[in-house]
Amino acid sequence: MKLLTLNFLTCAVKTCKSSSASFPLHPKNCELVSDTLAPNPKLLANILPRLDWAALSTIALELNLPTLPENAPSPESLAENEQLTKDLHSLLLETQISEGALVCANCGHEYAIKEGIANFLLPNHLV
């Protein structure tokens, strides 16, 4: 599951949605792999302003990945900086969690990731 996805996932338990602690979910025992994906500069430049950059930085920190710039780079600064473009493409779209878990800091529930697929189905008692 691409790292970018973590910017859009919360705990699935209804009562957690109102808590800010349910986002982002925290990676636990995650194995990371890297896949090669043809870059799409248009997609990357347009996605960046839509991201929750603070949440992204939190995840990068938790996974011991290189520190991100303080704010999302503008399309202009991306166009000037090939290395930064490559790094962000690699981090967001090529880096994947293949195995591990995602933990809700509000209720503690853990969602498993197996073979790159995250499973958010809840046991009956949590629905």
Partner: protein
């Protein structure tokens, strides 16, 4: 109500929707590849960088339409999600459409194509609509497609006046060289569907606080494009 026995809806759907799709996943996927025109134009009209959801994404059939947007798909079937996840650059997770793992108000678009009709009670179908609307940002829009009751031109030939809760067979052939233990070479699965009357989906959307922007009929389905009602909008909608 779909079932005449006293079976809880989730158990009913487990048997007549989820287990079926898990078993037929790769066969089903091989027959689902051509995007429907209105879904295609909806996705292609989105500005580059748009981020949204495909709720009940199945095999990721719609992931191939626009590579300049980012879609987070979800489906109840692990086997279908595994296929969907191969369509770059989009992603897919296993989730239930009544308990989605996404932030409220975050997404510019959502599609839910031929999904909500698998929920076996009115309450659950409306809840699914509500979950879709809840994910949308203030200006965001959702495209929902459901099977129509009125499809007398199709091979199933249902029309006004027919029972709306039906079981639709899916026949999976194993091939002459690969028979089942009892010698048969095909297996039939029954899938539950609620067939929507004209106007019914719009009613459900409005009931759950959504606003209908456009609606129509395509390939035996009713479709609606809807959004969340603007805050402070007290109109009937």
């Amino acid at each position: 109500m779909a079932s005449s026995e006293d079976v809880h809806p989730t158990k009913y759907e487990e048997q007549h929707v989820h287990e079926v799709y898990q078993q037929i996943a790769s066969h089903f996927s091989s027959t689902r590849y051509k995007p429907w025109p209105i879904v295609e134009s909806f996705l292609q009209s989105l500005p580059p960088g748009s981020i949204g959801l495909d709720i009940g994404c199945g095999n990721g059939k719609y992931f191939t339409v626009n590579r300049d947007i980012f879609i987070i798909g979800s489906d109840r079937s692990t086997n279908l999600v595994k296929i969907a996840a191969t369509h770059e650059p989009h992603v897919a997770v296993v989730a239930d459409n009544l308990a989605l793992p996404h932030q409220a108000g975050r997404f510019e678009f959502a599609i839910s194509i031929a999904v909500v009709h698998h929920l076996s009670t009115l309450e659950r179908r409306r809840a699914a609509v509500s979950c879709i609307l809840e994910c949308l940002s203030q200006g965001g829009k959702a495209l929902i497609y459901v099977w129509a009751l009125e499809q007398k031109g199709s091979r199933r030939g249902w029309d006004e006046g027919h029972e709306q809760d039906v079981m639709v067979p899916w026949v999976m052939k194993t091939g002459k060289n690969n028979p089942h233990p009892d010698g048969t070479t095909e297996k039939t699965f029954q899938r539950y569907y609620h067939l929507y009357r004209s106007g019914e989906l719009e009613e459900d959307i409005r009931f759950m606080g959504g606003e209908v922007m456009e609606a129509g009929y395509e390939k035996d389905n009713w479709w609606v494009i809807c959004k969340r009602k603007a805050k402070g909008d007290a109109s009937g909608g």
